[in-house]
Symmetry: C2
Subunit: 428 residues, 2 copies
C-alpha cells in the first residue's frame, strides 16, 4: 500500500521523539490507518550534525522549501518553532494542499486564525494538540469532548518551568532566585527565562485554550499577564497559613458571552484539585455549565509526551485523508469576541500590606475597602519582631478588578500604608 | 434546513438532561453541525406521568419499536438501560441504518463487540462516551488522544458511590455500614447497593476502558473483582499511618501484550494524584509508554454531566453524517487478548494479621514470606491494649499474585496466625 509521506520540520528533542514513535509504533499505527506512515524528508539546521536517532542521511535537508515544494509529501509536521518565516512556509504548504501538524504555540497564538482560515479554504487539516500542555489531549477535549456544553472557566497550569519553581519554593522554603538557578542547571529553565517566568509562554497557551473554549478569537494582547518573579517566600508562607498554594494560573472566564483571560500568580485553596499539581506537570481545569468541574493532568513538555500528541494528530490527519474529509472539522472560531471590562472581572483577593504599627491604622484600611465596596473576609496581623511597623494579611470576598485597583491606588496615597507588598487573586 | 431526527429511549434523569441540553444549546449546536437537532420521539415507561422537563406529549410513546421502525429517525439515543431486550432493539436499529449513542455500560461491557461489529457492517456509528465516568471524555481520549502511544496502565476511580463511602470513612472515621446508610438516604447509593459496593459496576466500566486502551476484547469475566464491603475503619487507620488512602481502584495493566484487569480496594500513596480524588468524583489515570502519567478528573454521574457526554457524541454522529463517514472510525478491538497468569501479575501488598503475641511468631511469619520469595518492605506492630494477641501490619515489595496467594494459604494453616484480617494491593 502507498505510504503516507510526512515532511518533518525540525529534528530537535520533539522531532526526534516523533521519529522514534512513528518508527517504533509503525505496526500499531498501520492497524489504525491502514497505510504505512513514512517520514520522507527532514528539515534540519545542520545536516552534518550527529543525532541521537538513526535517520537516513539522504532524507535530511537544510532547505525548508524542499519540503514545502515536494509534491510527494502529504503532511508537514512542524516542530522547529519560529513565527514569521514559519508562518510563510506553512501557508505555502497549505496553498499546495498539504496538511499541517504543529507544536508551535507562538505561531498558533499569534496567527492561528489566519492559518486555520487558509486551511479551511484549501480543505486541509491543521492540528496543534502538542502546542498546549504537551502530553495532555486538551485541545481535542475542548473541541469534541465539550462540544455540547458551554464552558464558563478554564484554569491552567500550562508552564512547567514556573510550576517547578513555585513547587520547590513551597516545599523547600527556597527563594525564587536560588530555585531559578537550580532549574536552569537542570535544564528546566532557559538561560534567558523571561518568556517562562514572566508568564508570556503561559499567555500564548491561554490564548489558544480560550479561543477554543469560548469559540471566539482571543488575541495575545487580550491576555492580562503577570509572572512569578516577584513572588516571595513570605507570600508563600502566608498563603500556607490560609490553606493555599501559590500557582501561576492562566484563568479564562466567560459570563453571558463576556470573557476575560489572564495569567498571574494566584493563591489556590488546597482543596482545589489544581493546587496539588506539582513539579513540571501541567493541568487544565475546565468548568462547563452542564458538566461542572473537570481536570486534565499530565506532562506539559518533554520529547516523548509532546511527540505522542503530534503523532496522535498525524493519525487523525491520515484517517481524514482515507475518509476524504480533511479540512472539514475546523477549529476556527465563530463567535464575536466581547471582552470584560475591569468592572466585570470579579474574584477574591489576598493582599499583604506593610503598615505603620499604631492605633487607628486598621480602621483607615477598612475605610478604604468600604469606600470601594470591597468586602473583607479576614485580616491577620502576624507577629513581625524584626520589622518596623506591622504586616497585614487581608483576604477579601469577591470584588471586581476596577475596585481593587482603586483600593490599591488609595493605599499608595495613604501615609499609614508603607508598602503594598503583594496582591494576588484567590481561587478554589 | 432538514433537521436531524433523534429517537430518545428513556426519559429518566439522564434523558431529561439530554432534552435540556439539546433544547437549551440549540443555537450553539447548530453552529457546529449546520442542522437543527430535533428530538422527534421519546420512549417512556408511562406516557401519562408528569415530567420535570416540558416535552410535547405527542412525541411520547411506550413502544420502543415505534422508534426503531421510524424511518425518519436518524439516531437512537439510548439511556434507558437494560441488556437483553435493549441489545435486540439496538441491533435492529443498526440493521435499519440508525446510529446509536448510548450511556449503557452494562450493554457495552457485555455485548460491546457484537454491537460494534454490526455497526461496522452497516456503516453506522456507535458512541458510548457516557457509559464510563459520566462527564469525563475518557473514551475519546483513549481512542484518539493516545492513538499513537502504547498504554501500559489504566487506574480508575469509576464508581462514585464507593468513592463517596470510602471518602467519608477516611475523613470522618465513620464505619462502612453507617456511611452506606447515609449514602442511601442521600440518593448516592441504591436500596440494593450490591452492584456498586461489590465492585460490579466498576468492573463493567473497566471492561470497556481496558478493551479500548489495549485494543483487545476484554470480557467482564476476565476482571478479578472485589468490593469494599469488608473495608474496616481499622484498615483505613493503618493505611493513613502508611501515608495512604484506601480507594476502590479498577486496575488494567499490560506488559508485553499480556494484560490483567481487576477491581479491588487498594492502598494508594497520598503522593499519587488519584489518592486525592474524593466524594462522588471519578478519575481515570492513564500511563502510556511515551506520554508517561496523565489523569482525567470529573463528575462520574449526574443528569447534566452525563447528558453533556451524550450530546457531544450526538454532535460527533451528526458531523459524521454531514461528512458521510459514519461507521468508519470504529472502536472495535483488533488485538488478540492474552491474559496474564497470577505469576505475571505483580504489585506491592499490605497485609494485616492478627497473630499470637509470643516470641518467635515474627520469625515464622518472615519464613513464610521468604519461602515464597516475597520480600518484606516493613513490619509494624501497633499497640493493641484491648485485644488478645498482636497485630502485624506488613508491607511488601512488588510480589506476584500467585506467591501472595501461597503466602495467604500458608498463614491459614499456621497456628501462630489467628486471622488474616486484610490483604490489599498498594499503588503509587
Amino acid at each position: 500500500m502507498k505510504p503516507v509521506k510526512v515532511g518533518l520540520m525540525g529534528l530537535g528533542t520533539v522531532g526526534t521523539g516523533v521519529v522514534r514513535i512513528v518508527e517504533g509504533h509503525q505496526a500499531d499505527l498501520q492497524s489504525q490507518v491502514a497505510s504505512p506512515i513514512e517520514i520522507a524528508k527532514i528539515l534540519v539546521k545542520d545536516a552534518s550534525k550527529s543525532r541521537s536517532v538513526v535517520v537516513d542521511a539522504s532524507k535530511l535537508t537544510e532547505d525548508p522549501w524542499e519540503l514545502v515544494r515536494d509534491e510527494e509529501i502529504d503532511i508537514i509536521v512542524e516542530v522547529m518553532g519560529g513565527v514569521g518565516a514559519t508562518k510563510e512556509l506553512l501557508l505555502e504548504a497549505l496553498e499546495r494542499g498539504k496538511h499541517i501538524v504543529t507544536a508551535n504555540k507562538d505561531l498558533m497564538a499569534l496567527h492561528g486564525q489566519e492559518i486555520l482560515a487558509k486551511a479551511k479554504e484549501k480543505g486541509c487539516d491543521v492540528f496543534y494538540e502538542a502546542s498546549v500542555a504537551g502530553g495532555i489531549p486538551i485541545i481535542r477535549t475542548l473541541i469534541e469532548g465539550f462540544s455540547s456544553d458551554r464552558i464558563t472557566k478554564i484554569m491552567g497550569i500550562v508552564n512547567g518551568t514556573t510550576n517547578y519553581i513555585l513547587t520547590k519554593m513551597s516545599q523547600e522554603g527556597a527563594d525564587y532566585q536560588d530555585v531559578l538557578k537550580e532549574a536552569q542547571a537542570l535544564g528546566y529553565a532557559e538561560a534567558d527565562p523571561t518568556s517562562d517566568v514572566e508568564g508570556l509562554d503561559a499567555a500564548r497557551k491561554m490564548t489558544i485554550l480560550s479561543t477554543l473554549g469560548f469559540r471566539a478569537n482571543v488575541a495575545l494582547e487580550d491576555v492580562d499577564v503577570r509572572g512569578i518573579s516577584a513572588v516571595t517566600q513570605e507570600d508563600i508562607r502566608y498563603a500556607h497559613q490560609l490553606g493555599c498554594e501559590i500557582k501561576l494560573l492562566g484563568i479564562a472566564e466567560r459570563q453571558d458571552d463576556y470573557i476575560s483571560v489572564s495569567v498571574q500568580p494566584t493563591l489556590v485553596r488546597r482543596s482545589h484539585p489544581i493546587a496539588s499539581v506539582n513539579g513540571v506537570f501541567n493541568a487544565v481545569y475546565v468548568h462547563g455549565e452542564a458538566v461542572g468541574e473537570t481536570m486534565f493532568y499530565g506532562p506539559g513538555a518533554g520529547e516523548m509526551p509532546t511527540a505522542t500528541s503530534i503523532v496522535a494528530d498525524l493519525v487523525a490527519v491520515v484517517k481524514n485523508m482515507k475518509l476524504g474529509v480533511n479540512g472539514r472539522q475546523s477549529s476556527l472560531s465563530y463567535k464575536e469576541k466581547k471582552l470584560k471590562t475591569d468592572e466585570q472581572i470579579a474574584s477574591k483577593y489576598f493582599m499583604l500590606l506593610h503598615v505603620e504599627d499604631r492605633a487607628g491604622v486598621l480602621m483607615q484600611i477598612a475605610q478604604v475597602f468600604s469606600k470601594y465596596d470591597v468586602s473583607i473576609e479576614s485580616v491577620m496581623q502576624p507577629a513581625t519582631p524584626d520589622q518596623q511597623g506591622a504586616q497585614l494579611i487581608i483576604s477579601t470576598h469577591a470584588a471586581d478588578k476596577a475596585s481593587m485597583n482603586a483600593v490599591q491606588k488609595a493605599f499608595e496615597e495613604l501615609p499609614a500604608v508603607k508598602t503594598i507588598k503583594s496582591v494576588y487573586r484567590v481561587e478554589g
